[in-house]
Subunit: 206 residues, 2 copies
């Protein structure tokens, strides 16, 4: 693309560095900002700047938080013996939205992925293992995505926890509620049969 | 969405004000920026700030430009008697990319659209009419999109030019090069028959 203005070209280039934003979309977004009142782009840039300069992570669960200890970790109503291990804040938000979980979280900050140069030292695994050694945690629920990277991470952490008296589990994989069996993929359907649950248990859930 | 951080919520909210960016995408973009080195978000916010504070528009064609008179208007190679009227900078870039046009442009900054509160006074129509009165321009090519708003704008400008000795034309509408007739919509196909071009003319183009 040939731009008539270096300033515009620069803004479009930086915008197109965001994931899923190509050059054309970036141009559309930047031109939109130019058409809006100046305050809108000021608000956007300031919100991004403030976040980047003042962002904090909860000292206990490593979730993004404005204070030292996040709301969930600080709440006396939460079950501190139960910890759910997730990849990032989006997973915390998704699980919180279900309203079904009363334990704490541990945000890893990603998955082990040699392809993307993410090793165990880039994640908060040491912090998790240290917490586990303190003896308060009784159960760890692993809720990483079921990809090769997710499984690798699960396995790595599992090895690190060797010798500790902690119950570990992963979230159930199976057919989504309301889904038709015939459209489910084979792996999921296979797993949902292998990991079938006793009938009374499934009735209790509803 | 329930956010664990006000700073994050704010950044996501401002990001989601951009067109085509929903809350989820905004969260994805903001979390991506958080994961990248700080320099990337600094570069993005600075590029946007610089653009917003220092953006200039060409005094002649109203295109975005870093200098008083844009490259195209300043070029001695360009035919100053021929002016193509377009909506915004993207159209200029698209036409420039064809390499087929040697005249100047006039960027309106939008189309007349009562639904969106855009009237003739919000566009650079007066400037176009004044330029036309100066007597240098011999032909105006209208290249607005063929929507109701585009046609309204064309018609409005056409009325304003009444009495001036200027040739006006619009870009040809028809079947795209390489397209199959059977998949073309009726309006386009109809127009391409009505506005058929003499055979020798069409051969000359290739």
């Amino acid at each position: 693309m040939d731009f008539s203005s270096k300033l515009l070209e620069n803004a479009v280039y930086e915008m197109s560095q965001l994931p899923g934003i190509g050059k054309r979309t970036a141009l559309r977004l930047v031109l939109h900002l130019l058409k809006q009142p100046k305050e809108q782009s000021v608000r956007l840039t300031q919100a991004l700047e403030n976040l980047r300069s003042s962002v904090k992570f909860c000292a206990n669960c490593h979730n993004i938080s404005d204070v030292e200890l996040c709301e969930i970790c600080a709440s006396p109503k939460r079950d501190k013996t139960l910890v759910c291990v997730v990849e990032d804040i989006r997973d915390v938000m998704a699980i919180e939205n279900t309203g079904q979980y009363r334990g704490l979280y541990h945000v890893l900050g990603g998955k082990i992925s040699p392809m993307e140069g993410v090793g165990p030292q880039n994640l908060t695994i040491t912090s998790l293992v240290n917490k586990a050694r303190e003896g308060i945690i009784q159960e760890l629920i692993f809720a990483l995505s079921s990809t090769m990277e997710g499984d690798t991470t699960n396995f790595y952490i599992f090895k690190q926890l060797h010798g500790l008296d902690i119950k570990t589990s992963t979230i159930a994989r199976g057919i989504a509620v309301g889904d038709e069996l015939e459209y489910a993929d084979e792996v999921t359907l296979g797993r949902s049969i292998l990991n079938r649950i006793p009938f009374e248990g499934s009735l209790k859930l509803n």
